[in-house]
Symmetry: C3
Subunit: 247 residues, 3 copies
């Protein structure tokens, strides 16, 4: 296996979006690109990551898997200097993943242990969503921060006309109403009104790697998991998060 | 009651100057504007806050009081986006204070519980001060930081010619002498020489919200409370702080 | 004794480079300037500091010594405003070192206790180094940060052709190879190949005050102490660090 990544900084940002949910994971290298799908340890959330094959400067791989401690992987990626190329290979015998950073100044090799993860990738849920909301990542993250000040849970309500975020806590209640035509909503389409409640901390972790200027998509159905999707550079990220059923 | 605040960010900064001393407080809304006067929990310091009526874009109020957890109030004000207007109203029946942030992008409602504070506003002390010192807030805050490195108490001495800040501690002693004509003193007038010692932490809390470029006023009398005054935006702030009598 | 320092901010930066290794120390004021040489508490590292006489605006001193708590000294120096001159004197009777900061705005006096340090300055080791490496401080500090992510120890290998940094730890291994002609190496001269291992934390403390754009010099010999030298402003700093002998 040999993967050549032209922009190591952007690759790092996309991996961060995975590490926000899971600490270790099994990448699959196949004809689609570099793919990972994993449940978080509490089993209420899932992340799906794909860096498409076309993004890589070189992509030589038989079917392969890479089990990695993602926290360590991210720490190393975080040490990228600007304008470095990154080559990912494996040393099968020694069970190592080799990161080689190359710049005109020289090269650095870091070898991380491949770890044995006895998990098969979870299936992607098939949910007949009723509502799709699209807006700038920065706008949504600000609304969630408001909610997080007041409660550990956030309720999202939507119909064809508006999209509402609510949070209720001991120190106060919040209600943010976004009308269909509000300039901060890129799109709101809905077949049926939806309402579901989610843990704030997960929503925060799942959205924080979305660049402020990128479009984030929420797909909703009453008391069903929410699907959250966006891109980081050229990597595609989707998350599912189970609702908390309200009393 | 309905108060419309044009610049929610500046309002937030003025409330911060109150929260530096007290965690909860009772605002009075009357013909002067929005007013609060409170002792700090240790009863050695007092803050007096007034946002004059003329500052508000709209000011509809019978005599009213608003008891609030100021820490929560400040947290919510801290979430202001730029160019937002803030409307403060009350829901008497449910004992809530409602903050409505309005911008072209939509509106956000936060309802905070009104709390029952069985306190009457303390009287403002009448002290025949001997000395008045005025200087830039930034200049004074730098001098206090010097003193705070060495001691938990700061001694201020002044007469018609000079104004001296001293601090004595185990790791060293500090003396800062400011002559009447020093370019960093905006004004020094004194009928009688004064000397008093104050806890550093209180002086620090009482001055830190003064913008660096605003004029801060100290009024002194030997072994009497100091009065510290400045404005934050258009809000008027005064503090009194009891001296610690030196041995 | 009277030492007048024109640029108190730069003086502060040079003292910081000493405090990274030792908490208290004995300065000697002699015909060379202001000099300090001290072992760190663990006795595996030494720092040698010289601010040459010519740097001072005024330098009146018989042979004198100044024993100081360097942490407190640095805290006070850290309070320098821009464009302040610093005058260092002593009050022998009261065993104080007096720092007087002078600017057009006035003056501040801080008196620090002189402390009695019953130590004689250690001798500078005489080591017949085999290899000298010079590069930008920023470049070297980045390489050390990479190593510090993976291990508490860093191995440095060098010969006439290349200079290698290695670190091995549970979460991964690092190898950075710098060829003689790499643009980030200012100089590499070597009579004999060298290899030695050092504790990361010490290397980090010894190099972190080197400005990114200054040249840092490493002198090496197999399993001998490394000598690290650079300048901070006009102060000359050298450090020695004992190797850890590899198993």
């Amino acid at each position: 296996m040999k993967l050549v990544i032209g922009d190591a900084k952007q690759f790092k940002q996309s991996i961060e979006a995975v590490v926000n949910l899971v600490d270790e994971g099994l990448f699959e290298v196949n004809e689609n690109g570099l793919h990972l799908r994993a449940m978080d340890p509490s089993q209420i959330a899932m992340v799906d990551y794909l860096m498409p094959k076309a993004v890589f400067k070189e992509f030589e791989a038989e079917q392969a898997t890479l089990g990695l401690n993602l926290v360590d992987f991210l720490k190393i990626l975080g040490r990228t200097r600007s304008d470095e190329q990154l080559i990912l290979t494996t040393e099968e015998k020694e069970a190592k993943c080799v990161l080689e950073f190359i710049s005109p100044n020289g090269k650095r090799n870091i070898r991380l242990p491949l770890i044995d993860l006895n998990v098969s990738a979870p299936r992607e849920p098939k949910i007949p969503f009723d509502t799709t909301i699209k807006m700038r990542g920065g706008t949504l993250k600000e609304m969630l921060k408001d909610a997080g000040l007041l409660s550990s849970h956030v309720t999202i309500t939507a119909d064809a006309d508006k999209f509402i975020i609510e949070a209720k806590g001991d120190s106060g209640d919040l209600r943010i109403e976004n009308n269909k035509n509000a300039p901060n909503l890129a799109e709101l389409t809905s077949n049926a009104s939806c309402r579901a409640m989610f843990p704030f901390e997960y929503l925060d972790n799942m959205t924080k790697s979305c660049p402020d200027d990128s479009i984030i998509e929420f797909q909703l159905k009453t008391n069903a998991p929410v699907k959250i999707s966006f891109t980081v550079g050229q990597a595609k990220l989707s998350y599912y998060l189970a609702p908390r059923v309200e009393n």
